[in-house]
Amino acid sequence: MKLYVNGEPRDVEAGLTVAALLEALVAPKTGVAVEVNREIVRRAQHASHRLSPEDRVEVVTFVGGG
């Protein structure tokens, strides 16, 4: 299925969980927050939340700022 991660289209297997997506992205295990279709998916839900086609996923982290 196709979905969008940080604005970029990606092909992933159907029914992928947020946790599995982060794994596939080689994203750090800690220090990231995930939003799917503008709703936050809490860390505790990463393993159970299944993604759907056309989902818009944002994976964010802290960077330097003032």
Binding site: E8, G64, G66
Partner: protein
């Protein structure tokens, strides 16, 4: 000399300097600057994870979590909606509800959009966030933010990153007069004397990033800012002499030789 600690939303701090994490030549130098500055509150931005930099060590690796209270910002947000969304993400990231609310009006001046800032503050306070809003040096806006339940007000000294210093000391003094929450001068500080002036005016703290990060010697500047904030605070508590138009001799006029 006795002084009360800076208290924001019931949390006490020994330092009256808040420091950023942007624009440092290296993260290692940033960490050293944080230490030299004595700051106990550190700002951060929330951005998309760089998916090409696989599994890289995060910014958090360079922040002393024992000492620092995290203050994620909403920099780069131009609407209340985006700022609120960013704060919710920041909470998920930092496990804390402290946020520096910053809703900008345009890219050239980076001046706050007061209307959107007020709108976002109202929602965030209701959601239980501890909101420290970046705002114009306008006493009326500061009062409105305070009345909404913001934990501090953070008027600008000058545009972000400009280094122009305290452009309107009278407005900052007016804000200090009416505010019952801490007044933190945020943005525009260029050098140590600017920070000292903010504290001399009675403001409770100063937040800065560029003035330290882009100084030729950031580590030395971090130390200078620490001293400036302490000196400014002491000068304020000491009670300065009034300004007079004419001279007033320091040495006695009696007993001059004939």
């Amino acid at each position: 000399m006795s002084d009360t600690q800076l208290t924001i939303a019931g949390k006490r701090f020994d330092s009256r300097l808040l420091i950023g994490t942007g624009k440092y030549p290296t993260l290692e130098l940033m960490k050293q600057c944080h230490e030299a500055s004595g700051a106990q509150i550190v700002t951060l931005a929330v951005r998309r994870l760089d998916l090409s930099a696989k599994g890289e060590a995060s910014m958090m690796h360079w922040i002393d979590r024992e000492r620092m209270t995290l203050l994620p910002n909403t920099a780069g947000c131009y609407t209340a909606e985006d700022a609120i969304r960013t704060c919710r993400l920041a909470e998920e990231l930092g496990m804390s509800k402290w946020v520096k609310l910053e809703v900008l009006g345009d890219e050239r001046t980076l001046f706050p959009d007061v209307e959107e800032t007020l709108k976002a503050a109202r929602v965030l306070v209701k959601e239980g966030f501890t909101v420290l809003p970046y705002t114009t040096d306008d006493p009326i806006t500061a009062r409105k933010l305070q009345d909404l339940g913001c934990a501090a007000v953070m008027p600008l000294a000058a545009p972000i990153g400009s280094g122009l210093g305290i452009r309107n000391p009278h407005n900052l003094a007016l804000i200090r007069e009416i505010a019952t929450v801490p007044v933190i001068v945020d943005a525009g500080v260029g050098t140590a004397s600017d920070a000292a002036i903010a504290l001399e005016l009675g403001c409770d703290a100063v937040l800065m990033n560029t003035a330290i990060a882009l100084a030729k010697d950031p580590l030395r500047m971090a130390g200078a800012m620490r001293k400036a904030v302490e000196a400014g605070r002491d000068a304020f508590l000491s009670g300065r002499i009034p300004r007079k138009a004419y001279a007033n001799a320091s040495s006695p006029l009696d007993g001059l030789i004939g």
